[in-house]
């Protein structure tokens, strides 16, 4: 039998879920969110939108094939991991078990939790902090810490420190991608589709960006609250005046909306999973997208003279995509795929058309 050391997931209102320790033993605090993906666990762990969050996997069997440590960009971003059951690794492909992976990265996890009950607890709450701990001694002190916890300075913390220039295949465009903590994988959509990418830190001034002579600027995804860093919004306000096409994803999309004067709301029910249906407004096209966000652009505040809502969520009608009118700009709440056969593959191509100088009809 596996390690059966007791561990606990304690939530801000002192609700306790019992389980067993997984990965590093100890205490970790974060915002507790769930994710409904059945696979893609390694992507979730390394996804910076989970920075400062303790992620609970609703699918009960985590990492059946273990985790393939692929070196670059596999830094774990989440503060903790909650599963019902993890699995030893039996294949010969060089994968390591989830337990070993978390151990080697120093991440605290918990298994044996009734994740379904946890999800039902979390689903109607805007924001729940919690902690994974191996002891319930000094619970009051822990609860105090949990309740005081906020995710701040996340982008500053995880954005790259020095610019990196990457050559794309058969490159036709030069793109500057501003990193708010996005996974490197996100850049593949550009690199594999004819773009050279200059991956620059979040706080790179506009003048520096221009030095790369960009055909387009990409505002990448990242974690936490888009209001967190006003300086970044100011920066974006300058970027959109450059006349260079702008493409924004996730956090970038939200900050771009703020820069354009629209408002952001904390959602009643965040989007947490791989099956979020997004409809292309005015068409019958729906895309199945992978999302993790608790904030959204407030649709009513989108000035129709300045931008058009081009995508909405089928379930709750929240804004999923905007096309700007005063400057060449396109933004989406989720990560579009680069693959032409993917239902979201056309989005990046719309951006390429913008860079080509074509207008989107």
């Amino acid at each position: 039998m596996k390690n059966r050391k007791k561990a606990y997931l304690v939530l801000a209102d002192s609700t306790v879920f019992e389980g067993y320790s997984m990965g590093k033993e100890g205490v970790t605090i974060g915002e507790v969110v769930f994710n409904t993906c059945t696979s893609a666990y390694s992507d979730i762990l390394s996804d910076p939108t989970y920075y400062g969050q303790i992620v609970a996997q609703t699918y009960p069997l985590a990492a059946n094939r273990g985790v393939m440590p692929d070196g670059e960009g596999d830094e774990i971003m989440s503060s903790g991991y909650v599963v019902r059951e993890w699995c030893d690794v039996y294949s010969d492909g060089g994968e390591v078990s989830l337990n070993d992976y978390l151990l080697s990265r120093g991440i605290v996890g918990i298994c044996g939790v009734d994740t379904r009950r946890l999800t039902r607890y979390l689903r109607d709450k805007e924001y729940v902090n919690g902690a994974i701990t191996n002891t319930l001694d000094n619970l009051d002190e822990l609860l105090k810490k949990i309740n005081e916890y906020t995710i701040s300075g996340a982008v500053r913390e995880i954005s790259i420190k020095e610019p990196v220039v990457m050559k794309g295949e058969n490159a036709r465009y030069n793109v500057v991608a501003v990193d708010y903590g996005s996974p490197r994988k996100q850049l593949n959509a550009f690199l594999l589709n004819g773009c050279n990418v200059a991956f620059v830190p979040a706080f790179t001034p506009v003048e520096k960006i221009l030095e790369y002579k960009p055909d387009g600027i990409v505002l990448c995804d990242g974690p936490a609250d888009p209001d967190d860093e006003p300086e970044l919004i100011e920066n974006i306000k300058r970027i959109i005046k450059l006349g260079v096409p702008v493409f924004a994803i996730g956090l970038g999309h939200q900050m771009l909306a703020l820069a354009a004067g629209f408002k952001i709301v904390k959602m009643e029910k965040g989007h947490r999973g791989s099956n979020q249906p997004v409809r292309l407004a005015g068409t019958d096209t729906v895309m199945v997208t992978n999302q993790n966000h608790g904030y959204a652009v407030q649709g009513e505040t989108v000035n129709p003279g300045k931008a058009e809502i081009i995508m909405t969520n089928v379930n709750d009608n929240t804004v999923e995509g905007l096309e700007y009118k005063e400057f060449k700009g396109l933004s989406v709440q989720f990560t579009p795929k680069g693959d032409i056969d993917s239902s979201t593959g056309f989005i990046i191509r719309s951006f390429f058309k913008m860079m080509d100088g074509e207008t989107n009809e």
Binding site: P60, S91, R116, P277, R279, D284, T285, S343
Partner: protein, 989 residues
Amino acid sequence: MNEYKKILVLGAGPVKIGQSLEFDYSALQVCRALKEEGITVIFANSTPSALATDKMFADRVYIEPLNIESVKKILEKERPDALLATAGGSDSLELSLELSQNGYLEETGTALLGVDMEVIRSVKNRHSFTEALEEMNEPAASSEVVNSAEEACDFAEKIGYPVIVRPAYTPDRESAEFCYTKEQLFQKAQSSLEASIVSQVMIEKCIAGWKEIEFEVIRDGADNCISVSSVENIDPVGIHTGDSIAVIPAQTLTDSEFTRLRRAARKIVSRFGIQGSCNVRFALSPDGKKYVVTGVDPRFSRTSALVSKATGYRIAYVSAKIALGKNLFEIENDITGCTTACSEPALDYCAVKFPKWSFDSFGTAQRKLGTMMQATGECLAVGTGFEPAFMKAVRSINKNHLPRLESLCELSDGELLKVIEASDDRRIFAVYEAVYRDFPIDEINRITSIDKWFLHKLKNIADTEKCLKADFSRENYEYAKNMGFTDFAVEQITGEEVKYSLEAVFNSIDTCSAEFDAVKPYFYSSFGDDNEAVLYLNTLNSGKKKALVVGCGPVVTGKAGDSDYCAVHCINSLKAQGFEVIVINNNPASVTTDYNVADRVYLDPLAAEDIMNVVAAEKPEYAVLLFGGEEALKKSEMLRNAGVKILGADYGFYRKITNKIEFFDILDYANVKHTSSRRAFVGTCIEAHVISDGENYFVPAVLEHIEKAHINSGDSISVIPTVSVDNSMLCRVEEYISSFVKELPFKGALDMQFVIFDNDLYVTKASVTDTALVPFAVKATGVDAVDIAMRCAAGETLKQIGVQPGIMKRPSKYCVRVPVFSFEKLRGVDMLLGDKTKSTGDVMGVGDIFDNALLKALIASGMRIKRTGAVLVSVRESDKSETLKMAGEFLSQGFRIYATSDTAKILNSNHIAANTADVENAVDMIRKNKFSYVVSTLENSGANDGNAVIRRAALMKRVPVFTSVQSAYTFSKSLANNNVMEELEVNDI
């Protein structure tokens, strides 16, 4: 949306191996989906045992043969705007394509919905399929069509052994053989060339041992495409998916393997332009590096039903809406109440499917599993992990709830390995036994190609078993319960009474992993913190009295669609009577597990502990057990002890009428004559469905069997009304029933069988669980016998129901029921009938005269009617007088008679000209299509018995075989009397 006002929906025909109840489930969903849009629904099917042939949703129903002629007639009569055939399996799809291909649909202005001719053509033909995939840059298994055994061997040299040989253009695409050597291939290629209509065979690279992964994809007209779920077959390629243990979702793929296959599946469906549901099958090499597409099925399938039940996603319903022009995001998900069909189901559990074989009922069948499906049914088990789901599946199949079979425990290691290598129906249990004995996992993996992940999971179960045996502590007990062991299983392992307890809870199947608060979830048991069923029930509080209906479990021969049919009628009846109805069942193909049928569904095994878990959560006042057969009835006492009253038959009553001694005693007291074992009673068999309110009785129909010998009533051809029983005898039937009901009063229904022998009437048996003929009787009489019986059971009197006691008036039309068998799918099975049921389903023919009804039913059963040619006769001495009549009738209609030597002597000495043919000759002539019919009634004396060989040969060549002289005689007469098929009328029932 398209403006269709009237649509003809084609059903799938009778239940056969490879085609269980799933098409009744899908047809009902389709009819419901169309009805919601205000469309007039016309439904056609040949079987009476389908719920879709009741007018639940359909406006008009035709129970007619599913062939070109009769469907044309229905189309002419009804003039629908469109034809929908994607929910009726491959046969009805084929039929609709034929109608489309010969231009008939276009001529009559009938649109063909849900399917594209071009697509079907390219996926059905292996050559064009491979080409189409190549165009999409998707890999197909490399294959080549060849015309000779030599060419076959040449191609095999190129791609390397082993290879798969398939005859081209045979009705059954799955008839494939593996060849490992040139000698094997040469031989197999030759026999396959013979079997192929066009004398061609397909040689394919063998990918046996690769992982078999399926995706169920659904796409709308706007090119929105989602993958409903993945399915992983634990048994790798080489064992038919219908015979494989499967798990949903796929478990052993890495992220990138999974993503790659899912993307490929969606791409293929999108590029083919398929609208509606589609099953895409892949073979993935064990190292995960290579994959090939092995199949694309653009219609509702067995897997669709499985995935629907495992996820809560209504695949058939959604496909029907798409066929009408709706898009995924316009179709409601009624489980969550707040999402749409474009949300891919997110699962937070694991579902395991076990096949259920019926080899025991078939007698001598070879049990080896291969590329042809042999399972008759399946069960689905859901758990929060693989182990508990697997253990639930085990107890749905094994009475002792354990994965260790006694018969395997006794084997030596060497013998055990042989069983594993033989890969028969005991395979998974043999693998478990090996794991239990600590055979190296790598070694088992090498032999079986079952992924090590699964083997390690089995090891977890085995370790749990051993831990428990070594130390029956509370901790180990709780651990075992979490792994899926029942208390009953624990008792057997430990040999001790269980002194602990752990309460089960229920989780919801809600399509969304609890992301939303579902409004209509269904449930499975697990061990966890919250009981969601109880939480859900607290929000309802309907105040109604509750009844729990125990379902039929996996389909086995003799307990087929009819149990599920009756159970659904029972549910509807109880609902109409004001009950809140709860179902527990584990059959994913059944209609009872459709969450739109009963008020609540528990998708769990039918073991005592599982039923009691539901009772604990629901606290029903009543339970109905009789549709679950003997095993369910055995739970009568347990339920009564828990304060639950049994509606309808309970175990005590069942025992009374099943135990021959007790039953005959009751008959003696009632002064009712009955058969005895000391004499042979060969005469006309009749059967009555008796409903009683405890005082009076009502018989909706008396039916007559065509065969005079004692074969299982479900396997005999039967007719309503009787054709050779005079009124005085029917009065005797009434007297007998009346006396019996007085002697043994009951509230509900039972089936009573009689034989007329020497102009006297004898009761042969009675049954409460044999419901094979009920759906037929319901259709023939128009009386919902189940409803009346359930009302009686719940306390109403026949008078209150408004039913006139006694035998109902003879219906004006003749209805004939013909059983359907699946012999062609089973190796080494003889067609001769007997005590045990061998039929898997039934068809029905309706006509103004008996002969027309019989002919229609025979045509519906798939028989090819010929009016000329030769008849081969090989019969028992005891059948002599009947044989002479029968042979004489054929002769007088211009048929030539051939007979085996003994039979020929009898015929010729009675002035009926018969040519003599020995077995070898006869078989040769059958292979050369020289016979129109074969009449063969002689017992099978062993493996290579001549008569069995003759019947087998005829079966393979699809020559109609009569195993009863009476049915052959009745048939020959109806051939003389009836009109040609083209002139037979089709009618709404």
